[in-house]
Symmetry: C2
Subunit: 425 residues, 2 copies
């Protein structure tokens, strides 16, 4: 009898996987395609602004445009990533199909006029919205809809950063703080992997980051074979990365709440936000903290890439990027949070590397993944991200920094729809 | 008010981490030390048997010895890993301190006389038993006892294979099928890391495995930049690795159940088991499938290491190792299941590499982690293990093989105390 049950079990597993592979193929190919177009457009917009810096003066007006765009055609799409997470937890009104074009337009506009934002939020919303669209076509059950939405998140994330494993684990880990459920493991991975391949097929190349540091075996107290000094530095950095993630999440929430409370005319919020960004840019005298920040047209400018080299960030670069992004996203502009979190982390890592005398490229890479791990509460996905982006040689440090940052970022995080499944203490 | 709550939150987190670091230090240092001694003794026993192959004739008598050792001084220690998992799920009578010395002695005896077994089970039982001992000294609450036991499992696993990240994730992932809970994430990682460092400080070196294969970018249909042919081969292999994990778990359970049902005199079970092992060894004419199998004194012999090279395994090596181990562990001998699973996987990978014309070292490495992923239902831990043992270059294949094997191994697994948290279908 048991043997028969076991045989049936494999039949169920095979049919489950065939079913999900078939569901996931259209979702991931269309998400990968749309993300590829989005990344291409974004690159155009960023380079256009590099060539025409005066566009920044139009940021307040661009913000008003985004405001009315969402007001008159957005419905509930404005809730963005949080709406998708809520729908996965408890399917309700669905994720509207219009979310995809709206968020792409709004993100491109934000970047074109110099708002400091990212791109993962956009990709995830494209993923969620297309997954919801296909789920309706397939007439899926409630339970299957939740699963397909999760694969949409994985596809968007995997495609936008070129990190398929991280995309799958992120989608499973971000839903509830302190837990990974494996129910959608292979469907999410297939989605993330196919979306990444599709995005690559459209000719999109992802930025290459390099950590050249290689740990040399050191011996302490005659017997302990591990670089204990570097270990201590990485733990201290991990704590600060977690606190930076916490500070970012708190600032973004606080700015959003107070803007909505104090500024009665909603369309005034992006105008004031845009004006603050312009003022800050002229006060600190650099455009380095505008837009995406992965690269910088100015050879001596600060960017994520520059933060991997000595002298590539100032002591306050991380703080400025945090402030610019919290204002941009908290005051009505669109885009993701993750690339700015990479910037904040890499710049803070650079600074900590200088202060503590640790390898700059390693510390920048650790900050890159760990601030993100803290702010989104996804330490395991971020450890994988370290391997996918920087190679596996320093995985022990990725884990130390990400796990430590996870604990020190508290329970808030940037997504208020993230449920607390398992408390950190 | 919220700000105050947040400040308190960080105070709780810091005090939580300080408390757990202090609890974990004695556990992990003593587990690391005992595991180091165990590995040293094991190495001695294995080499002694290599020099004295006639020891195999005494295997049945050794088995009777182990039987009576557990019968007269074992109490509930015989339940081994399953007892520890049950105690973590629902603390009851506790894990007896005697479990550690008993399992070390029984494992060494098993290997000395040629039983086919592993070492992770032993290390995990040492970890659980020492953690339980310290928990009693510290007079921990029920909830804290569960957590310390989990860190004991992580410490044992991390130390025995020299893979700290895998140790921590394994301990969290193995408890319940289909779920990772982050509650003990950092304590488990600290435990696993410290135990590994401690084990290294005693002079223990772990076997180095090498995958020299590097994927070359291939282009299909003009646009798709991924080696699709290798991808298909890895998926097929992943399915077979999962089925091998399933076959191992089923065989071990079946042999155990039928021996207990058919052989009325319990002490006769290891005698018959020992005799079958001796008979099989002489029928197939090689001692390659006895004991641990990581290395082989015979230059042309089959081992885990040899499976990474062309000609290093025969088409049925994986089957023989599966059979030898299922009989050894199902009929009263002691030791872990994991190193034999590595052997089964590496040998099967070697064979599949030959049959399908895929890189032998890559396929052996994938089998190494994926059969284990399937049999223990720990796909995420095993993907990390790939990176920790073989480097990060082929992580995408580790994930494909481990995740696929996880689905195809069904719901049984080698630990019957593993609960099903999230079904695979």
């Amino acid at each position: 009898m048991k043997r028969i049950k076991n045989s049936f079990e494999h039949v169920f597993i095979v049919s489950h996987l065939i079913k999900w592979t078939l569901f996931v193929i259209p979702v991931s190919i269309s998400v990968g395609t749309l993300v590829a177009w989005f990344l291409w457009l974004l690159d155009r917009a960023i380079n256009f602004r590099f060539a025409h810096p005066w566009l920044l003066w139009l940021l307040p007006i661009a913000g008003v445009g985004i405001h009315f765009l969402y007001k008159y055609s957005g419905k509930n799409a404005e809730a963005g990533n949080n709406l998708i997470m809520d729908e996965i937890h408890e399917p309700g009104g669905g994720v509207p199909a219009r979310m995809a074009p709206l968020v792409i337009i709004a993100t491109i506009v934000t970047h074109l006029f110099g708002g400091s934002a990212g791109r993962e939020g956009t990709a995830v919303q494209v993923g969620g919205s297309l997954a919801n669209f296909f789920a309706r076509q397939f007439k899926l059950t409630r339970e299957d809809l939740r699963m397909l939405l999760t694969t949409g998140v994985a596809a968007g994330f995997g495609a936008v950063f070129g990190t398929p494993i991280t995309g799958a684990i992120f989608a499973l880990e971000v839903l509830a703080l302190g837990r990974i459920k494996h129910d959608a493991l292979l469907p999410c991975f297939i989605a993330s992997f196919l979306a990444d391949i599709t995005c690559g097929a459209w000719g999109i190349h992802h930025t290459q980051y390099h950590i050249l540091f290689e740990s040399v075996e050191k011996t302490y107290f005659n017997y302990v074979h591990f670089d204990l000094i570097l270990l201590i530095k990485v733990i201290i950095a991990g704590i600060l990365f977690g606190l930076a993630g916490f500070a970012f999440a708190e600032s973004a929430h606080t700015i959003k709440n107070y803007s909505n409370k104090w500024i009665k005319q909603k369309w005034m919020i992006p105008i004031i936000g845009g004006l603050i960004i312009i003022a800050l840019t002229y006060i600190i005298g650099t455009q380095d903290y505008l837009s995406l920040g992965v690269t910088n047209p100015n050879k001596n400018g600060i960017s994520i890439i520059s933060s991997f080299h000595a002298g590539g960030a100032t002591y306050f670069s991380w703080f400025w990027k945090l402030l610019f992004t919290a204002i941009t996203l908290g005051m009505g502009f669109k885009g993701g949070e993750v690339t700015p979190l990479f910037f904040i982390g890499a710049a803070l890592g650079n600074t900590l590397g200088v202060i503590m005398g640790a390898p700059i490229d390693l510390m920048a890479g650790l900050g890159f993944i760990a601030v993100f791990a803290g702010a989104t509460n996804t330490p395991i996905a971020c450890t994988f991200m370290g391997v996918e982006l920087f190679g596996g040689a320093n995985i022990i440090y990725y884990a130390i920094a990400s796990f430590t940052a996870y604990y020190f970022s508290g329970h808030s995080g940037i997504y208020h729809a993230q449920r607390v499944a398992v408390s950190k203490v």
